[in-house]
Symmetry: C2
Subunit: 488 residues, 2 copies
Amino acid sequence: MLDTSPATAGQPLPRVASDMLYRRLAERLHEAMAHGSLRAGDRLPSVRELAKREQVSLATAVSCYRHLENLGLVEARPKSGYYVRPRAPRLAEPEMRDGTGRASRVSVNNSVMSILAAMRRPGIVPLGAACPGPALYPSARLRRLLAAQSSANLESIGRYGMGMGHPALRAQLVRRYAHADVLLEPEEIIVTIGAMEALNLALQAVARPGDTIAIESPTYFGIENQGLKALEIPTSPRDGLSLEALDLATQKPGAVRALIVMPTVQNPLGAIMPEDRRERLVAMMAERGIAVIEDDIYGELAHGRPRPRPLKSWDREGNVMLCGSFTKVLAPGFRVGYLAAGRWREQVEHLKFVHTVSTPEVLQAAIAAFMESGGYDHHLRHLREAFHSQLDMATGTVERYFPEGTRLTRPAGGFLLWVELPRGLSGLALFERALAEDIYIAPGGIFSGGSRFDHCLRINCGYPWSAEIEGALRTLGRLCHEMLAEAG
Amino acid sequence: MLDTSPATAGQPLPRVASDMLYRRLAERLHEAMAHGSLRAGDRLPSVRELAKREQVSLATAVSCYRHLENLGLVEARPKSGYYVRPRAPRLAEPEMRDGTGRASRVSVNNSVMSILAAMRRPGIVPLGAACPGPALYPSARLRRLLAAQSSANLESIGRYGMGMGHPALRAQLVRRYAHADVLLEPEEIIVTIGAMEALNLALQAVARPGDTIAIESPTYFGIENQGLKALEIPTSPRDGLSLEALDLATQKPGAVRALIVMPTVQNPLGAIMPEDRRERLVAMMAERGIAVIEDDIYGELAHGRPRPRPLKSWDREGNVMLCGSFTKVLAPGFRVGYLAAGRWREQVEHLKFVHTVSTPEVLQAAIAAFMESGGYDHHLRHLREAFHSQLDMATGTVERYFPEGTRLTRPAGGFLLWVELPRGLSGLALFERALAEDIYIAPGGIFSGGSRFDHCLRINCGYPWSAEIEGALRTLGRLCHEMLAEAG
């Protein structure tokens, strides 16, 4: 048995929560490295020795080493065996950018639209949008459920479905959130066209043109321009939104109308806000009369742990509006999201009606049937593992090929990697050079109203690992080196 | 052969464009009455005589007389036969309400929401919302196509479908509108969540908070409150929007930003704007730089005639934004609409993205497959005939039971009847009394920002005729009589 004594350094562990044997074994070895019982340069047991000692097959032992090698944790030396590579990641994590600026108008600038247009180019490597590979979703089963549900309730095709949500789907959501300590009534849940509509409705219910809303910085910026101003609050790649900065920014009564926040797996940083901070955040906002719009679309995608309690679970005043969606976790093509709007429920129902009237019932019914049938947790587990492993592979590749001075996040969930390029390099310039090589990335500039993140980029690791993706990341590294050389 | 000489009076013919034998026969008799060759009180041929003379079966002759009887055009006298009833409708048509008021804020007032809430009461007779009976839609075929399409393109379930429209659906729309002299490129068409989203996007693209938009009066008022002001333009039950009033209201440059108009089967009046007025309208608005948002959701539902040319067909400057939907004509539950935004295309694409990102692809694919398979025209013909016949039946019943002084429209299409109660009666009071009898109607007040239509109501005739619906209309008539009596 390997020594797995506690870590001496504060080294972050990319925790591999797989139930597959070789990955469990790799995780064990990885922990031993992290805790210092295996050190850089140490020779590892041979494949045969490992298999014997751990009572696994030779194939499993080989897979285990291959996996660790892919992660950049071990290296094979010809005719000698496997050795532990230098343990500390070469690249540091980005730091939280301090400083809350002035509120600026919320808008998706035109560069976002031209950036998005590039996404649809055929043959492009899709590292830009936060869209995982379609193969990760249970489309065949959803298709069967869609057929069965539309058959069982033909009439739902011929009627508007004016209600605010399909009863079966509402019931499933109530049950699911109850496990996360959020107690909802079915009637509280308004089913929307994805989380995008949910966020727009929530914002429209609480804010008027000219109002200021607090948002994370960096953040995904694609909400409707409603004549609002955004105040960017510094956000840490580890703990999420800075409560200290939020406190300062919201002390003047009436200065901020609402806060939009992703406490669980923040986009683009992948941060998870600790529980004690969640509780404090909810209390502070309630006390100051500032509505909280909680974006929970990545809520089920924390790596290797139960889903964190949503902010909504601490909400006693109906001051938190919980927004979510099945887009990232189950059925991207169905565009089914939801919203529990607390004390703005009536306004949101009204807004939903004048926005899009209702959400297609057959799609809601198919998702509810999927959840009822009990395969949802199983699917989510697999999805989380796939994302975790894909992030590991991408992290190892960025570590290997990007220039010194690059920083990158260690996301606690989801499938997005945030990279800070060495100072002087432009994310937009890299975006353009990458595009010329048929690689699509998201330049950091679009995650802020200012220029704070212009030297950053977000990498979508939602696709299964492939030589193409590895090659694309290597190319990105090369382009960075070239840009550095040109800058002299 | 019956005499079908030209009409001497200007009597409107409820034209029955059925290819069913008994209805063709009834139409022939009806024309003879309208043209004066059969007069009120005349005895009609016996069933046996009619069958022999027209070379139809006895059953057809019986059906013909039943149909005419239901329409209130003939009456059976026991042991004597069928007689022509007094020909002129007892109730007159409503007149256009003159006077363009001051612009007022666009909003769905709260009464609309509580009125809508009542709609969902179980067991209620659904004469309020503009929602036809589900049985009129080809749900079984759509279900099969949905299953086939999602099977053939499983991947569309697992991906966002960020494009602005499914290529197959865009192609079908291009083809269909080409027949109505609207020449579109597939890329011009943005597929939306119903016409509601299309209208909202169109409006948001052209207008800013504080702007004034011209709307029809009365009109369906359910669009998003975007801080806009609405200027109501008088609209005739026969010819639609008054160009004269529009002319006056838009002479001052910049006073009006956009016009929302339903030239084909206006909701709630059922008017169809004549072609020469359409052309003039498009030219006037282009000249004055006022955007035209054309709501074409009832475009395919004109009774017994080819669909009128949309305003868009005269548009040379990209100044007309054409909005439509499959909600009323094919698949209410799918919430698939569309928008050809002329010179605002880029803005609308942007807005669609931040509004709801995209429209579920599987639903678009199923609709496209339905249209490709060639059954769409056949379905539409049946739908139009059903609506026409249902309107006829409702008209006859209102004629019979509503008090003197009531006026009602003769809609040129669709399935909505607009009733003006005798002065002094309140549509809202009738709504409330009707609700107590489990009948749901739309009070006229919600079709205007002012109080101009408070004595009106809109009746949904979208459901197949039944004893329940006839009974409900009779009850409405009785309630009106009671209210009149109470008023003294």
